[in-house]
Amino acid sequence: MKVLRLAVVTAVRALRRNKLRSGLTILGVVIGVAAVIAMAGLGLGASEAVQQQIRSLGNNMLFVHPGSKTDSGVRSGAGSVSTLTTQDADAIAAEVNGVAAVTYVRREVAQLVYANGNWSTLVQGVTPAYQEIASAVVARGAFFGEREERAALRVAVLGATVVDELFRGGEDPIGATVRIRQVPFRIIGVLEARGRTAWGTDQDDVVLIPFATAERRVMGTPLPGRVELILVSALDDDGIGEVERGIERVLRDRHRIRAGEEDDFSVGTLDEIAETARGTTRIMATVLFGVSSISLLVGGIGIMNILLVSVTERTREIGIRVALGAKRRHIRTQFLVESVVLSSIGGAIGVVVGLALTVLLSRLGGWPAYLSPGASVGAVAFSAGVGVFFGFYPAHKASRLDPIVALRYE
C-alpha cells in the first residue's frame, strides 16, 4: 500500500510539473466521461418519456386497421380500399366480450379557413366515444355527443396548434365559424395540448368532427360506411389479448375469410407500439452511447500522446533510475500510475459534470432525469481502464530504453 502511495505521489509530482498540459489531458477524459454519462442519461430519459407518453394514450386500447383486399386474385395495397365498415365496429361492440367502447375514424387532410387566415390540417371524423377511448381532454367548450353525430351537425373541436394558427389575434375560438373545405363549422371545443409524440408528430394539429358529418358533408363517399380505423378499448388491461382474438374471430366471420386465408385487416395494441418504441429508443440510446464513447477514446489517445511526450522528455531520468537499479516493471509502473492518475481524476470530474449535464438536459427536454448509476460506475472504471490501456504503450516504451542511450540523452 505504501509503495502504491509513493508511486501515486511520484506521479502527481511529475504531473504537476506541467499543470497546463496535465489539465488539458484531464479535460479530454472529463469530456469523454461526461458525454458517456449524459448521453446514457439522455437516452434512458427519452426512452422513459416515450413509454410514459404511450401509457398516457391508454394501456387497454386496440387498433383495427384495414388490410389488403384481394379481389379476383388482385391484391391491393393495405388501406387502398378500406375493408372495414361501421357495421364491423358495431359488430365488435355487440359480439366481443370484454369490450368497453368502440369508435371509428375517417380522416383526411383538408384546408381550414377563418377570416383572413387558413391552415391545412388533419380532419378526423369520429364518434363521440372517441373522446373517452383516446383520452382526449377538452380544455374549453365541449365535445360533441350522440345528438350531433346522429344529425350530422357541422360542429368541430380544434386541437391547440390549429387554434394557434387560425386565431392569430387571440380571439376566442368557441362559437366562431370556421370553414372546412368551404363547409362552415361552428367551433364548440378546444382540446388540451398534448405536444408531440416520440416520433415528432404534432398531436395538436388536428380537428375532430362527428363521423356522420365527415362522411356526408366533408369527405364525401362512394362507399358509405367505410372507415379507416376502428379503435376499441378493453374493460381492463388483462383482457386485452382475449379482446384481440375476439375481434379477429368476428371480423373473419363477417368478411367470410376461410380458414387458412390471410386476414384483410390487422389488429394492433399499444403494447406492440410500446415494444417498437422501446426497441427504437434502445437503438437510439446505444447510438448515443457509442458516439459518446468515441469522445472517451479520444481522451484516452490524449493521455497516450502526453505520456509519450513525457517519456521522451524524461529519457535521462529514466536512464538514471535504470542505472540505480530500477527494473523494467518499476519504470512501467511509474508511467502506468501517472496515466491512471490522469484518467481517474478526469473520470471523477467527468461523472460530476455528466450528472449535472443529465439533469440540465432533462430539464430542457422536459423528460424525467435518469441518473444512471451503472453508467457512472462504468464510466469511471472505463476511464481507469483507458488509463491502463493507453498508458501501457508509453510505459512499455519507457521500460525498454537502453540505459546507456538514455543516460547520454540531452
Partner: protein, 236 residues
C-alpha cells in the same frame, strides 16, 4: 556458505578478453579489443586514456549497463556478461554504486529523495530508507542540505549527493566516470579525498575513469587504455 567462500576468494572484477563492437551499419567500431584485467576487493583504481580509448565503454560494461560482445566478466566471482536486463538491474542496485560526470541527480526531487532512490528499487522497507539516506548524506557532510533541490546546490554539493546515493545501498564497488570533470580544482580535490576516505574507511573498491593526472594521482593503481586495449598497469 560455499557461495560466500567463493566470493571472498574471487577478485572483485575479473575480465577476460572483453570485446565490445558497435555495428553502425556501414562501419564497425571496436571500442574494446580483448581487455583482460583483474581488480581485487578494496583497491583504488584509476582508468586513464584519451577520449575514444574505450575507457567509458569499459566502465559501462563493468557497471552492467552494457553487455560485452565477447569475453567473460566475473563480478565477485559471478559471470555477469550475459545477464538479462532485470538481473543486471539487481546487480547494479545491490553491488555497484555509480557516480557520473554530470551528477545525474533527478531534478525536482530533493537531495534525500535522490539518495533514497536505490533503496526504493532495492525493496528496502520505507521506514529504513529515510534513516539510511540521512546517514549517507551525513557521511558526505551534507546532512543540512537534505531537503534542498539539486538546482539549489553547488556542483560540488550535487556530486556529494550523488556519492551518498552511490553509497546508500552499501555496494562493495563504486564506479565513477569522470567524477570531477565538471568541478573546479579545489572542489575536485575535496571529492577525490572523499573517495579516498570511503576506500580507506569502508573498504569500498573504487574504480574511476579520468583523463586528469592530478585526479589519477589519488589512486593506488592506474590502468592506461589506448585504442580499446589495456596498455599500462602501474601500481604505486
Amino acid at each position: 556458505m560455499k557461495q560466500s567462500a567463493v566470493a571472498a576468494a574471487a577478485p572483485m572484477i575479473a575480465a577476460t578478453d572483453l570485446w565490445r563492437v558497435f555495428d553502425l551499419g556501414e562501419t564497425r567500431v571496436e571500442a574494446l579489443r580483448g581487455v583482460t584485467l583483474e581488480i581485487s576487493a578494496g583497491e583504488r583504481v584509476a582508468i586513464m586514456g584519451h577520449s575514444g580509448s574505450g575507457k567509458s565503454t569499459l566502465m559501462n560494461v563493468l557497471g552492467c549497463l552494457d553487455r560485452p560482445t565477447r569475453g567473460s566478466y566475473r563480478l565477485e566471482g559471478r559471470e555477469v556478461a550475459e545477464l538479462a536486463p532485470d538481473d543486471a538491474a539487481e546487480i547494479r542496485n545491490r553491488r555497484i554504486g555509480f557516480v557520473f560526470q554530470s551528477f545525474n541527480l533527478i531534478p525536482r526531487m530533493s537531495a534525500i529523495e535522490n539518495v533514497e532512490l536505490p533503496l526504493f528499487y532495492g525493496d528496502v522497507p520505507l521506514q529504513d530508507q529515510g534513516v539510511r539516506a540521512r546517514a549517507a548524506l551525513e557521511r558526505v557532510g551534507l546532512q543540512k542540505r537534505a531537503g534542498h533541490m539539486p538546482n539549489q546546490l553547488s556542483g560540488g554539493e550535487q556530486q556529494r549527493v550523488a556519492i551518498a546515493r552511490a553509497l546508500v545501498a552499501r555496494p562493495p564497488l563504486i564506479l565513477a566516470d569522470e567524477p570531477t570533470g565538471n568541478l573546479d580544482t579545489r572542489t575536485s580535490e575535496e571529492i577525490m579525498k572523499l573517495f579516498a576516505e570511503l576506500n580507506d574507511e569502508l573498504g569500498v573498491t573504487v574504480v574511476l575513469v579520468t583523463h586528469e593526472p592530478e585526479v589519477a594521482a589519488h589512486a593506488r593503481r592506474v590502468l592506461t587504455f589506448r585504442d580499446g586495449r589495456l596498455v599500462g598497469d602501474e601500481k604505486r
